[in-house]
């Protein structure tokens, strides 16, 4: 390891490491080119951190680009992230540790191109983070490709004939774009074109950090910064370019300053004690009820189908809930997605005395068809010896199957006569429990109580259940 050429003893900010141990070599100097604006921006940021006394609290997010190695230099908590995602990562760091001061340091390729969605939404949410946005109008680390911020006409490795607006669009004014949002509390564009501009940059960075310390929300400082190497200029010429050319394209000044009137973001409330968590998750912490009874050999495979809105899924859920309460093994599997909003809907219910193997019902022994298309679609699948209940006046001529009992009753009409056609599903449940009495009435009633939201509907559903049960029993006695 070589001896440092020179070690700065005075005036170096305290939140810089004394030596850059994380660098492979040249541990006394940065990896930046002579005249690069990152060095100055680092210094301004470091001084602001020192002055505000926040070194221990800072979490610095390094981007992808020339400043990927921020963590070589800053003696703070460091997180290095993917290209463009720094403000998303910073969002979650801050949400996780509201007391931390989270700084997202990003270049113009990182922030204004690949990370444009993340910065827009972080700003719009008013995340209480500080973003240092270093704009040099070019991709530096990858060797000088066009950035969204590259001036019109500028030659880069990917605009060899100069940036052409018809092909490449216009320089992106990030500070102005973000200032159109409600979320940000402070946005200022500064430049590193001369000492006066640099002093103003320092003030802006400090102000942005103070905004975060006070909890006032999203703050961003855009720093117009020289890149002499890629611009193929000497450092003095590059600084002149910043001062005279870049500031014409990107006017300096505060674009948003609501620090006087912004209210601090509320801090999260203290979490509840751990013992409270199960209750807050609505977990039933009562001991298991003793199994009520055992229906040996019960293996019901129930398919319920109809139009969306006929209560197909709820009917299935009621059977599964009541079955579970009765100590049976159960499963409920819905068709899901757009089908739920229109068209057909169906669900599979298993009720069994032994653990359910497959929750998919492909050969039902019970089919509950709320409409004719469902009857026609699923009748061929019903197992021999099965039972089919169909919501209609009579079974269509061609829907009889030897070995399968198909029974038609106008369930929706019956429900309508006692208050609402919507309770047709519960009338059907009543009929099913008359013809295939595997669940006790009180378990059905318990399931209704849990799943039906209002007292009025609960009463209606109870009446509907009784109505269906009685009608089916009557039908049975006529047959007998």
């Amino acid at each position: 390891m070589s001896e440092p050429l020179y070690t700065l003893k005075c005036g170096k900010a305290g939140c810089f490491y004394p030596e850059y141990e994380r660098k492979a070599d040249l541990k006394d100097q940065t990896h930046y080119c002579p005249g690069c604006g990152h060095g100055i921006t680092h210094k301004l940021m470091a001084e602001a951190i020192d002055e505000l006394g926040i070194q221990d609290r800072v979490i610095l997010v390094s981007p992808v680009g020339c400043s990927v190695f921020l963590y070589y230099y800053f003696d703070v908590g460091n997180v290095q992230v993917a290209h463009g995602r720094a403000s998303a990562v910073a969002t979650a760091l801050k949400r996780a540790r509201p007391e931390a001061i989270v700084i997202s340091y990003q270049g113009d390729g990182d922030l204004a191109a690949i990370g444009s969605a993340e910065i827009l939404h972080s700003a719009n949410r008013g995340e209480n983070i500080t973003v240092l946005f270093v704009n040099n109008g070019i991709y530096g680390m990858t060797g000088g490709q066009m950035a969204p911020t590259t001036p019109v006409g500028a030659k880069t490795t990917t605009t060899p004939r100069g940036r052409n607006v018809w092909n490449d669009g216009y320089p992106l004014h990030i500070s102005e774009v973000l200032s159109s949002l409600e979320g940000p509390s402070f946005i200022e564009r500064v430049a590193l074109g001369n000492p006066k501009q640099i002093l103003q940059a320092k003030k802006a960075i400090r102000k942005a950090l103070e905004a975060q310390i006070k909890g006032l929300g999203f703050s961003l400082v855009e720093v117009l910064s020289p890149c002499p190497t890629i611009w193929k200029m000497d450092p003095v010429e590059a600084q002149r370019y910043v001062r005279e050319e870049m500031t014409r394209i990107y006017p300096l000044g505060a674009k948003r300053d609501r620090l006087a009137e912004a209210a601090p973001r509320p801090l999260p409330e203290a979490p509840p004690p751990l013992e409270e968590i199960p209750r807050l998750l609505k977990i039933d912490t009562r001991p298991s009820p003793p199994s009520a009874r055992h229906l040996e050999g019960l293996e019901d495979r129930i398919k319920i189908a109809g139009f969306g809105g006929q209560g197909v899924l709820l009917l299935g859920q009621l059977i599964a809930e009541a079955g579970m309460d009765d100590g049976l093994e159960v499963s409920w599997l819905p068709s899901y997605g757009p089908e739920m909003r229109s068209g057909t809907s169906n669900c599979h219910v298993r009720l069994a005395s032994k653990p359910v193997d497959s929750p998919l019902v492909t050969r039902p022994n019970i089919l509950l068809a709320m409409n004719e298309p469902s009857l026609r679609k699923f009748l061929p699948d019903v197992a021999d010896g099965g039972l089919v209940l169909y919501n209609g006046q009579h079974v269509p001529e061609d829907c009889h199957r030897p070995g399968v009992r198909v029974l038609a009753m106008p369930f929706a009409e019956m429900a309508d006569s006692i208050g609402s056609a919507k309770a047709g599903n519960i009338v059907m449940l009543g009929a099913l429990m008359a013809l295939h009495p595997v669940l006790p009435d009180e378990k059905i009633d318990g399931a209704l109580k849990r799943l039906v939201k209002t007292e009025r509907w609960l009463e209606l559903d109870r009446a509907a259940f009784a109505c269906g049960k009685n009608a089916a029993l009557e039908l049975e006695s006529c047959h007998a």
């Binding site: 994380r22 070194q55 221990d56 609290r57 800072v58 979490i59 390094s62 963590y71 003696d75 908590g77 460091n78 997180v79 290095q80 992230v81 993917a82 995602r85 998303a88 990562v89 969002t91 979650a92 760091l93 949400r95 996780a96 540790r97 931390a100 969605a117 993340e118 827009l120 939404h121 999260p268 409330e269 979490p271 751990l274 968590i277 199960p278 807050l280 998750l281 977990i283 039933d284 912490t285 009562r286 001991p287 859920q317 809930e321 579970m324 093994e329 159960v330 499963s331 409920w332 599997l333 819905p334 899901y336 997605g337 757009p338 359910v356 193997d357 497959s358 998919l360 492909t362 050969r363």
Partner: protein, 350 residues
């Protein structure tokens, strides 16, 4: 404790919170939405963060941020969203950050459809992102396991400092079954390496960049040693009637449930069938599958895809036994009846 009839997706999120998850960042997608909705309902009251991100890309990077700060964090999505998260998952693995990612799979490629498929196996198990990394993958087959395996996923993620993916098909996510939740909630303190924004953790650094080839190689070797340790320590597998099986099915997730039904029916027909169900897809139960070959003459892999896991079964058996395959896709699922029929055909030729 009393059982509750709960959707798989909801059971997953409750299991996560009981395991100490206090941050969820996600983006809407069917059939995973109930997970985010449960997170939105239950995380803020327990002192956690729920945020709907602007994209899956942002969501996984927010998980990166929360994990960096030592919070047990997760996201949930389905195939198209997991594709977008590939970059972030690679970074999480590279930076050795623990997190849990739920993939409730649907039909692909492209927009495909929202019906269940198992076609994310390659993407999730082999790694959809760049670089030499692995994620531990758990494949629940019931609502109860959505809770239990997600609970375990947080422990495994913390233990290995690695992302863990809970991969379930849309059926497992959407169906309701009785679930008995763990009695007690956990909330472990942040790990030593986390960056908390305080004096103690100021020296900590989270990164996945190693500029020097020797340094990166050493890092990759260290990661690889960890993946090999997973292979030795964390394989999980369920065997069903394999002791004397001449025909051994291999299937995971919802397919394993249908296969149990098929095994029962084939046993009634006098065919000694059994099932090996991988619970971890990485690490893969290679040894358990080889062990089943002691009695099995034929292996029969069933998937809801055109055949992805079947490659791992063939690798495990290394030509020792014939491996048949039957797959349905597009949102169709194989029925026990059609599997029995296919198996009878296969056995007729043995």
């Amino acid at each position: 404790m009393a059982k509750q009839l709960v959707k798989g997706n909801e059971a997953l999120m409750k299991g996560a919170i009981l395991a100490g998850c206090r941050a969820f960042y996600g983006y809407p997608i069917t059939p995973a939405n109930e997970i985010a909705e449960a997170a939105a309902a239950y995380l803020p009251p327990v002192g956690g963060v729920f945020l709907q991100a602007e994209s899956e890309v942002a969501a996984i990077n927010m998980v990166f941020g929360a994990a960096s700060a030592g919070v047990r964090a997760m996201t949930a999505s389905s195939g198209p969203g997991i594709s977008l998260m590939g970059e972030g998952i690679s970074y999480l693995a590279g930076a050795e950050l623990p997190c849990v990612i739920a993939d409730i799979t649907r039909g692909g490629p492209g927009l495909g459809n929202i019906a269940p498929e198992q076609s994310d196996y390659f993407q999730v198990v082999k790694g959809g992102g760049h670089g030499s990394y692995r994620t531990l993958v758990l494949a629940p087959a019931s609502a109860q396991e959505m809770c239990d395996l997600t609970f375990d996923a947080f422990e495994l993620a913390a233990h290995y400092r690695n992302p863990v993916i809970v991969m379930a098909d849309g059926f497992i996510g959407q169906m309701m079954e009785p679930v008995e939740f763990p009695r007690e909630a956990k909330l472990p303190p942040p790990p030593e390496w986390a960056v908390l924004g305080d004096a103690r953790t100021r020296p900590n650094l989270i990164t996945s960049i190693y500029l020097e080839p020797d340094a990166l190689e050493a890092h990759i070797r260290k990661l690889d040693a960890k993946y090999q340790r997973m292979q030795r320590e964390s394989v999980r597998c369920e065997n069903y009637m394999t002791e004397d099986a001449e025909l051994v099915f291999v299937g995971y997730g919802i397919v394993s449930r249908v296969l149990k039904s098929a095994v029962n029916r084939l046993r009634n027909e006098g065919i000694r069938a059994g099932l090996v169900r991988p619970v971890t897809l990485f690490p893969f139960p290679t040894e358990q599958i080889r062990a089943a070959a002691r009695t099995a003459q034929t292996f029969f892999v069933v998937e809801m895809s055109t055949g992805q896991m079947v490659e791992d079964v063939r690798l495990a058996l290394a030509g020792m036994r014939p491996v048949e395959f039957y797959g349905r896709c597009g949102g169709n699922s194989p029925s026990a009846e059609e599997i029995v029929e296919k198996a009878m055909e296969v056995m007729a030729h043995v």
